[in-house]
């Protein structure tokens, strides 16, 4: 116990000491930051027009300003919120129609402040790169080189200067890496000190921010977790450490690297959902319960509905799946054609479909099979799980029915109809058992909106299901509803929920029709817990598929390494000034070469070391391995997964990987100069070579800066000269 107490004392030791701040200013860092700011912030509000994906993110910023709910399947909301923060600070009211790239911004759009945060993030990447190399124990010269390469990388500049998320993502990724390295480099005796905690926690926070901006951040997070795991494995091997303090180390890491990031990630959603409380364009993606929690929209209709479905209730039934579109169980007076186009026969009874629009024909009445009346008794008798009901179509008063007749488009399933008695020895089979899927006990009451219900046919045990197929002309292209005989487990297409609901009061059919047409208005409102909303929204974001997948500037992952592709971001409406996402060719090529050299050299060293031949000193080898693990590993985890992805890919997806690859260049250069150039002459020649190479990087940066910054406008011949690769798409106006 005493030892435990001691360890906790040490863990909290930083509280006992006075807080002392010693300021130490590294002029390198200051100058680099300044240069980064200049390169990223210079002329930030030019062009005053929508540039590329600003058209996409801008609409979300507007929706934030107006507090309207939306779902974006491209990623979690933290990035959008940061952009919106820029708009908020600039006093943006959200009134701008984000409809096309190149549209001129109106006066109310604070362009500068909207673009400020990404630009700041981009600028700060420069000193971060410097610090990372320093923490990897490389020389200040190498660190300076890395920072300058990042500074002069045209693609990173372009991407930082607009309302886009990549620079923010890269900033958080680099911050996470840097803080982990700081944490790791702290001497052993400073465990659980203030700065130890600070850097450890900052790692977790930066990771969760990176993941919160884009799911791509997950790759770096996993890389850091693996690294931390490996390092902790060495800590386990340290036998001077007591078991208790080992446990404390483990818990501290678990807290900072797993629990806090998860909590922060959830909190992003909390803020997101708190900010956005009004209903909006994406409502119908969500379940009825979710929609009902938003102000306006469905809430306006469902507010004050009775909660418990009772015999005699008038309801609309929405299919939970919502694919191919949200729809409600529907029927109308038309019957199934006697013969279908392919010659199969039908029952010729009244059609039952799923209809994607609100309609009076979507109303059904829940009836007790043992009683005749279609009104709610007083007190209402609620319907519970397992009860058997009949569903009566409100307008036609026919009963929902299914029988052993093949469905029109899915012949393996049963046809569902509203029963018409033709007196042809085909009896009505209209009893359905209500099964509440999300019940807590077997006596649960069927609740409006909240309960997800399966209707199991009593005679055939078929389940009412939306097949997803769209009926031909005779069914008005509405969606087919079938009875699924082989119901394999749970699928959302078989689950329905009550959306609109009221207790029926009219005894006569005429009155009832009037009642069905009138809007629902009654008591109670319901609220969804935050966790329920969070899980639903998270699930939708992950599973929502964007159908429109091709884009003019989309590219494949293989094109990125060699930069065989570019993206035109903006073109001046009259002159030929334009902005492209186009990298610094020399940097990209050198980064590839560096990665190649690193891999080959490492393999060579590794094999030789296995044969007990040591080419470089042990500590140099350790540095070489850890630097490569971070930089080459960072490149690999941020790049290789794209080969397995089916979504539309763009060149900018490569930028995080590229950043890591660039950091590798000075590492390899310093290693060559320190360990492979053995004579002084060789060393100075190598230095000269580096200087020459670096000037070429600068030269390329200057050459391409007109298409990076969008000014000055170039002439046709100049533009043609810039087209260094045939596959680049540089826009040249026809004269």
């Amino acid at each position: 116990m005493a030892r435990l107490g001691q360890t906790f004392d040490r863990m909290l030791g930083f509280l006992k000491e006075p807080v002392v701040v010693t300021v130490e200013i590294n002029m390198n860092v200051m100058v680099l930051t300044l240069m980064g700011l200049i390169s990223r912030l210079w002329g930030l509000s030019y062009p005053r027009a929508v540039v590329f994906d600003e058209v996409y993110y801008g609409q979300f910023v507007s929706l934030y300003m107006k507090r309207i709910f939306f779902v974006d399947d491209s990623g979690p909301p933290f990035g959008h919120m940061l952009l919106a923060l820029g708009g908020y600070l600039g006093g943006f009211d959200g009134n701008f129609l984000w409809n096309r790239i190149g549209a001129e911004y109106s006066m109310n759009v604070p362009v500068w402040s909207l673009r400020l945060l990404p630009a700041l993030a981009g600028a700060l990447c420069v000193p971060l790169a410097y610090q990372i190399l320093v923490e990897l124990q490389f020389s200040h010269c190498a660190a300076l080189g890395a920072a300058l390469l990042i500074l002069l990388e045209n693609s990173l500049i372009t991407q930082s200067r607009f309302m886009l998320l990549e620079s923010v993502l890269i900033f958080f990724i680099l911050l996470a890496v840097l803080s982990y390295l700081k944490f790791y480099n702290l001497k052993k005796h400073s465990s659980f000190s203030g700065s130890w905690w600070f850097w450890l926690l900052l790692t977790g926070v930066a990771c969760s921010c990176a993941v919160g901006v884009k799911y791509m951040g997950l790759f770096t997070y996993i890389l850091l977790l693996t690294t931390a795991g490996l390092h902790f494995w060495h800590v386990i091997g340290d036998q001077n450490l007591s078991n208790v303090s080992l446990m404390c180390h483990f818990l501290a890491r678990g807290l900072a690297l797993i629990i806090i990031p998860v909590a922060m990630y959830v909190s992003f959603f909390y803020v997101h959902l708190t900010l956005l409380y009004r209903s909006g364009p994406h409502d119908q993606i969500m379940t009825s319960a979710f929609q009902a929690s938003l102000e306006g929209g469905l809430a306006r209709i469902t507010q004050g509905q009775p909660l418990e479905v009772a015999y005699g209730s008038q309801v609309t039934l929405r299919n939970v799946l919502g694919k191919p579109m949200q729809c409600w169980l529907h029927s109308h007076t038309n019957t199934y054609p006697i013969r279908y186009e392919n010659g199969r026969g039908s029952s010729h009874q009244q059609q039952v479909t799923c209809y994607p629009f609100k309609d009076v024909n979507n109303w059904w009445i829940v009836k007790d099979p043992g009683m005749q009346q279609l009104v709610v008794s007083n007190p209402p008798r609620p319907v519970r799980h397992g009860h058997i009901v009949q569903l009566v179509h409100g307008i036609t008063t026919r009963y929902l029915n299914t029988h052993d007749v093949a469905a029109p488009l899915s012949p393996h399933s049963q046809e569902v109809s509203c029963y018409i008695d033709y007196n042809i020895s085909m009896p009505a089979q209209n009893l359905w058992r209500v099964e509440i899927v999300n019940r807590e006990s077997d006596t649960d009451v069927w609740k409006t909106i909240l309960s997800e219900v399966r209707f199991v046919h009593v005679n055939t045990s078929a389940v009412l299901k939306l097949s997803g197929a769209s009926l031909p002309e005779w069914g008005y292209r509405q969606l087919e509803v079938v009875g699924e005989k082989l119901s394999k487990g749970y699928h959302q297409s078989m689950v329905w929920n009550v959306e609109e609901h009221r207790y029926g009061k009219s005894l006569e059919q005429k009155e009832r029709e009037v009642e069905l047409h009138s809007p629902t208005q009654m008591d109670i409102s319901k609220n969804l817990s935050f966790m329920a909303k969070f899980t639903e929204l998270q699930w939708k974001i992950l599973t929502l598929k964007n159908e429109d997948t091709e884009h003019k500037y989309s590219s494949s992952a293989l094109d990125w390494i060699t930069m065989d592709t570019n993206i035109a971001y903006w073109l001046h409406p009259t002159s030929s000034a334009q902005i492209h996402l186009l990298g610094n060719v020399v940097t990209w090529a050198s980064a590839n070469v560096a990665a190649l050299i690193y891999t080959c050299l490492s393999l060579w060293y590794l094999i030789r070391r296995r044969r007990k031949i040591y080419d470089i000193p042990e500590d140099a080898w350790q540095l070489w391995v850890s630097a490569g693990g971070i930089c080459l590993g960072g490149w690999a985890v941020n790049y290789l997964p794209f080969f397995g992805m089916e979504k539309t890919l763009f060149l900018y997806h490569y930028l995080p990987a590229l950043t890591f690859q660039i950091l590798l260049i000075p590492i390899v250069l310093q290693h060559i100069s320190d360990h492979l150039c053995r004579s002084v002459l060789l060393k100075s020649m190598f230095t000269a070579l580096i200087v020459a190479w670096f000037s070429s990087v600068y030269f390329v940066y200057c050459t391409f800066s007109p298409v990076t910054y969008g000014e000055p406008s170039l002439s046709v011949t100049e533009l043609k000269d810039l087209r260094w690769k045939d596959s680049w798409n540089i826009l040249i106006r026809k004269q």
Binding site: Q239, N243, L486, K488, G489, T549, E550, R610, R611
Partner: protein, 762 residues
């Protein structure tokens, strides 16, 4: 096959009976904690680091040597009995027998077909059928068809034979890895009494064949590892080349065999790395090791794999249902194909009726049908697709762009040949619409233009004009059938007709997309050749189509298979099996019968065994982590514990890796998945269960140090597990051997009360 009691609960250890190997002496008893400690340590420190652990046959409770053959015999007996019991039932086609039995028949009849799996499994089925007197005449049309007089038992017997061999293979593998007879027996019992493994082995399916080769590869790999102390000995060579042979076999049955190749590959790399670090081994010796592995594990399997395809193409020399998937050149090799010894008019003329085949591998014929593009996808005109099967809708008539060259049977009009550079119109024969393109985006490849069929009775507009060009030809030259590689350029927009190879959704009947590409790159996607050619006015000339080389055929058939595999996508709203369902035995597969009156067979693992396996995986991870941490923390372990942890970490690790490699990749697969895909992983999981429980029981026994109790605990635990397995098999055996009577929900059913999960369908 009723009460197989565990044959050999651990007996009194008898140290003297074990083969005396260096370092093994005196290290066999449970209660001799100090006996082996420090062994081998004084001598060769370097050796110990890399190789010595394998040589230690350390095992605390080794039974007498005579027990092993007896145990093996028992395992084999039980295994065969359980697999061959009621083999001929049900006497109708079950589940995928409809595919694989049919393909066996194709081999017997020597007709060419196409399947997404490599040929070995089906060839073996065909061979088994042939040897057992099946004549290949049964059509295998759909599940449920009765076999009547046809001899199907031979093929089922062959699969059941391989399925039975699985058990001894797994038994020997575990025995080799853990050196513990109880562990091996436990594994064997699990596999013998698993209803899933029994069911899967009893029918004409590829899985028993695949799993046989897979287990064969694992066993020979493990055996080869044990021979590592005498490299280049006869047994070393034998086991290594046997590994190679089995790898080829596994790959040759299904591409899933790739995972076991990966497992062996990783093992070999680890092995080589080990050898490289052994400084007593000269580099020359290391080179020899490397070469031997390249030879046995890469070259030998490749050669066998290629040979398999050679046999496949030699046997199947008659035209059959798979022709359309392949290029014209390939088809000309098949007897009975319309391209075999073909005799057609050599040059294409106006008025000719032709089919056009895309030169992309698995490219398909230019096709159109009465259906329109759906609303919102380009213009609502008639679809044009690429279709892999031969069909009347693949026929097109070549017409002049300006005049309607009337019907070709009219003898008064002279024949006019199409020349390179001509502008033509292609009229779809069945629907009389013209091949048409315009500046609407194509349905899937949005950067390309849509291609439609347009017009009525051959009258369209100027967007129907195409310039026909032959690769490598000058203007004015005639265009040859089959050999001429043709490019069709749309006159109005300048784009080229091509097929993107992407599969259209349901509205396009899952045929391939045809587009007009504005990027004028010369790829096979945008090249076509004329295949069929009908023109009564021209004389037919016999043509020798370019004979494709074997390498070309091999490459082509693989491209077609890959295309076929990616095309197996789940349909919208279809409930499919998910990988996470599998280890928890969430849902089985109906092999036969649905209703109460049917003879029902349901592929479902014995839930007790499967859940035991699942729990064991968690348990194993727990044990591994604690053992690894304990070792890392430098905890002083007794030699027994060290041995146990070695078995768990090294032997169990290999098996665990096998399980991961055979399971995790399914999470990333886009194709349709089925429950039976898990069975290879289940084999590994069962072996892991054997090893883990044996270790765990030994560990528990070790704590109760008085030897009598220890042995009792160990024996009782082992016995309890075996009895549990056998009892659960007694409960669930109707799943495999057939249920007749009411469904499980009815109390009078044989399965009453056993439907433990709602998702089980019996």
């Amino acid at each position: 096959m009723r009460a197989p009691r565990p044959a050999h609960p651990p007996r009194t250890p008898s140290p003297g009976l074990r083969r005396a190997r260096p370092g093994a002496a005196g290290h066999t008893a449970l209660r001799m904690p100090a006996a082996g400690r420090g062994r081998a340590e004084p001598g060769l420190p370097r050796q110990r680091e890399s190789r010595a652990p394998r040589r230690l046959p350390a095992h605390p409770a080794a039974p007498p040597a005579a027990a092993r053959p007896a145990a093996l015999a028992l395992v084999i007996l039980l295994s065969f009995a359980s697999r061959f019991h009621r083999l001929a039932e049900p006497p109708h086609v079950c589940w995928d027998e409809t595919h694989f039995g049919k393909m066996g028949s194709y081999y017997i009849n020597r007709t060419f077909f196409f399947d997404v799996h490599p040929p070995l499994g089906k060839m073996l089925i065909g061979l088994a059928g042939y040897l057992s007197g099946y004549d290949g005449t049964f059509p295998f049309q759909k599940p449920g068809d009765r076999y009547e007089q046809h001899n199907y038992v031979g093929m089922r017997g062959f699969c059941a034979f391989l399925g039975s061999c699985l058990v001894p293979l797994a038994y020997l593998t575990v025995l080799e890895l853990s050196k513990s007879l109880p562990a091996a027996l436990l594994t064997a019992f699990i596999l013998i009494f698993d209803t899933g493994c029994i069911t899967l082995s009893q029918y004409i399916l590829l899985d028993p064949i695949l799993m046989f080769f897979l287990m064969g590869a694992v066993l020979s790999m493990v055996k080869c590892n044990s021979c590592a102390d005498r490299p280049f000995s006869a047994s070393w060579w034998f086991w290594m080349s046997l590994t190679g042979v089995n790898l080829a076999g596994a790959m040759g049955v299904k591409f899933v065999g790739l995972f076991v190749v990966l497992l062996v590959g990783l093992n070999t790399m680890y092995d080589l790395w080990d050898l490289l670090g052994n400084l007593s081994l000269s580099l020359v010796m290391f080179g020899k090791h490397l070469l031997a592995r390249v030879l046995c594990l890469i070259l030998l399997p490749l050669a066998l794999y290629t040979a398999m395809f050679a046999v496949h193409f030699t046997v199947l020399n008659k035209s059959g249902p798979g022709d359309g998937f392949f290029s014209s050149a390939f088809q000309s090799q098949l007897i009975g194909n319309n391209l075999h010894n073909i005799s057609v008019p050599e040059h294409v003329a106006y008025g000719s009726v032709v089919t056009m085949k895309n030169l992309r591998m698995a490219g398909g014929y230019l096709h159109s049908h009465w259906h329109l593009y759906p609303e919102g996808i380009g213009a609502r005109q008639q679809q044009v697709t690429a279709y892999l099967h031969k069909d009347l809708n693949n026929l097109w008539i070549i017409k002049k762009h300006d005049s309607d060259t009337a019907d070709p049977s009219d003898p008064s009009i002279p024949v006019e040949f199409v020349r390179h550079g001509d502008i033509i119109r292609l009229e779809h024969k069945e629907t009389s619409r013209n091949l048409h393109s315009h500046q609407h985006e194509a349905p899937l490849t949005r950067k390309h233009f849509q291609v439609t069929a347009y017009g009525i009775n051959g009258t369209g507009d100027s967007n129907d004009f195409w310039r026909i060009e032959v690769v490598g030809r000058q203007a004015g030259k005639l265009i040859r059938v089959l050999r001429g590689q043709v490019r069709l350029t749309h006159v109005a927009t300048g784009c080229m007709l091509g097929s993107s190879g992407k599969i259209l959704p349901k509205w396009g009947w899952e045929q391939l997309e045809v587009t007009c590409t504005p990027y004028l790159k010369e790829t096979p996607n945008s090249l076509w050749n004329f295949e069929d050619h009908i023109n009564p006015k021209l004389p037919n000339i016999s043509l020798d189509v370019l004979k494709p080389s074997f390498a070309e055929i091999l490459l082509e058939s693989h491209m077609v298979m890959i295309q076929g595999n990616t095309a197996l996508k789940p349909k919208d709203n279809e409930v499919t099996s998910k990988p996470w369902h599998w280890p928890i035995n969430y849902q089985g597969l109906r092999f036969s019968g649905v209703n109460e009156t049917d003879y029902r067979v349901y592929l479902l693992g014995n839930p007790v065994i499967w859940w035991l396996n699942l729990v064991t995986i968690g348990l194993y991870l727990l044990i591994t982590v604690s053992a690894a941490v304990a070792l890392k923390r430098g905890v002083q372990l007794t030699s027994e514990l060290k041995d146990l942890s070695r078995v768990v970490l090294r032997g169990g690790g290999q098996i665990m890796l096998g399980w991961l490699l055979h399971y995790l990749p399914f999470f990333m697969m886009g194709r349709v998945l089925y429950f039976h895909h898990y069975f290879p992983a289940m084999l590994f999981s069962s072996m892991l269960t054997g090893i883990t429980w044996d270790t765990l029981l030994k560990f528990c026994a070790m704590f109760l140090s008085p030897s009598a109790t220890a042995r009792k605990v160990y024996g009782a635990g082992f016995l309890a597990l075996v009895l549990l397995i056998i009892y659960s098999f007694y409960l669930f055996h109707p799943l495999s051997y057939g249920i007749i009577g009411p469904m499980a929900s009815d109390p009078s059913s044989p399965m009453a009360g056993l439907r433990w999960m709602d998702s089980w369908e019996f």
